[in-house]
């Protein structure tokens, strides 16, 4: 295998971490909607908390994305 091939394969492997982030974001979104449906008055504060939690979960996928960019372009 040439260096180029290893590069692209490793980018693919790194980006597998998006599976975890996608699962987490889906779970948070489902729980948030559940809470909003049960208690519509609290939907404002629930939305803020939900977006924050999604940001935390998404950050892990973004780290992988940064690593992938560094492998590809740096």
């Amino acid at each position: 295998m040439s260096v180029e091939v290893v590069k692209y394969l490793s980018v693919g492997l790194v980006m597998l971490s998006t599976i975890g982030a996608a699962y987490a974001v889906g779970k948070i979104g489902a729980a948030g909607l559940d809470g909003m449906a049960r208690n519509p008055e609290a939907s404002g504060s629930l939305l803020t908390a939900m977006i924050l939690a999604i940001a935390f979960a998404e950050a892990l996928a973004i780290y992988a994305l940064v690593v992938a960019f560094l492998i590809l372009f740096a």
Binding site: I51, A55, E58, A59, Y63, L65, V66, F69
Partner: protein, 339 residues
């Protein structure tokens, strides 16, 4: 005010108005197709590192020239992301002048852009009220709102036409793209690769989105984390640092105190990880957006990238909100009194 009433009561007026928007839209789409027919979008050259706009060309190679040299820290380069930070400063200064102009004689009625700012600020503060104690709001909200405003404007500057597509056409040693000289100093770099023996060119853009530079996001992140520590120190005094090195617990209970000492080490690591998480989240989102836009513009030159641009603007505002909101939450946690 009258316009709103009119459009609600007379559907015919509203229809006429929406149709008037369609004409420039169709015109722009046709212009897009026409321009792309003559000048195809070039394959993007993407680098994580930002390019310096001051450079020399030696033997067909670009050598970056430092802007000025600091005594201890070394060379400082005038990069293209630094230039767009200049644009942000100008925009924020103009906004501040407008706010000053409208509020200097104690006017209560704001209008135009100041009204928009007021709406945005009141919406943002309403969302943050739950996580900050009342007496600290005056100290914490300036950080929150200025971080939001700064990042939001930084992410909105890419809406300026030709923001990332105008630049220096620099010669490269091998490879590169053909360029048509229009005048002696104005070149149009085309999508064709330079043939053997021909001089190839590359584009170094004048501007580059500020948040696609790791220096910008990490600087903001470090500022935010240091501000969190300072506010925590102001709230609790030296007790705040017992979160990190818990000597008091060791003296009180020599056997179990070491667990608290270990937790202190973990807290320190968490504080440093905050910098990385703040910085890389913003950088990763905005850089991914830039790469997506550039590649999509290259592969599907017609219309499609406009919709992705709309999505990117939304992501940019959302990331600005998340950065500010997380700062507020961490600051609120740092100043909260423990029972």
């Amino acid at each position: 005010m009258t316009e709103i009433v009119n459009s609600e009561t007379h559907p015919a007026v509203r229809n006429k108005k929406t149709k008037r928007w369609l004409i420039p839209l169709i015109g722009l789409i046709l212009l897009n197709i026409l321009v792309v027919h003559f000048y195809k979008p070039i394959a993007p050259a993407i680098s994580v590192k930002t390019e310096s706009v001051l450079f020399d060309v030696l033997d067909g190679e670009v050598v970056e020239k430092p802007w000025f040299t600091l005594p201890l820290l070394g060379d400082v380069f005038l990069t293209n992301s630094l230039l767009s930070v200049g644009i942000i400063f100008i925009v924020i200064l103009l906004l501040a002048l407008e706010v000053h102009r409208q509020t200097k004689d104690g006017q209560i009625k704001a209008h135009g852009i100041v009204l928009l700012l007021e709406l945005v600020i009141s919406a943002l503060t309403n969302m943050a009220d739950g996580s900050v104690d009342g007496k600290w709001r005056k100290k914490i909200y300036p950080f929150y709102l200025s971080i939001f405003l700064y990042i939001a404007i930084a992410n909105l500057t890419k809406l300026i036409p030709f923001f990332e597509s105008f630049g220096f056409a620099v010669p490269v040693a091998h490879g590169g793209l053909q360029a048509h000289p229009w005048t002696s100093w104005f070149y149009a770099v085309t999508a064709n690769h330079a043939a053997a023996g021909q001089q190839g060119y590359e584009v170094i853009s004048f501007f580059r989105g500020a948040a696609t530079d790791l220096n910008f996001t990490l600087a903001l992140a470090i500022t935010a984390v240091i501000a969190i520590q300072v506010l925590g120190f102001q709230a609790k005094g030296l007790d705040y640092f017992s979160k990190f090195i818990n000597i008091k617990a060791v003296i009180r209970n020599p056997k179990m105190g070491f667990i608290d000492l270990f937790i202190g080490i973990l807290e320190t690591i968490a504080e440093i990880a905050k910098i990385a998480s703040f910085g890389f989240r913003l950088f990763g989102n905005m850089f991914a957006g830039m790469v997506l836009l550039l590649f999509l513009g290259y592969m599907i030159p017609w219309v499609a990238s406009s919709f992705i641009m709309l999505y990117e603007v939304f992501i940019g505002l959302l990331q600005a909100f998340i950065f500010g909101m997380l700062t507020v939450v961490f600051m609120g946690m740092a100043v909260r009194a423990e029972e």
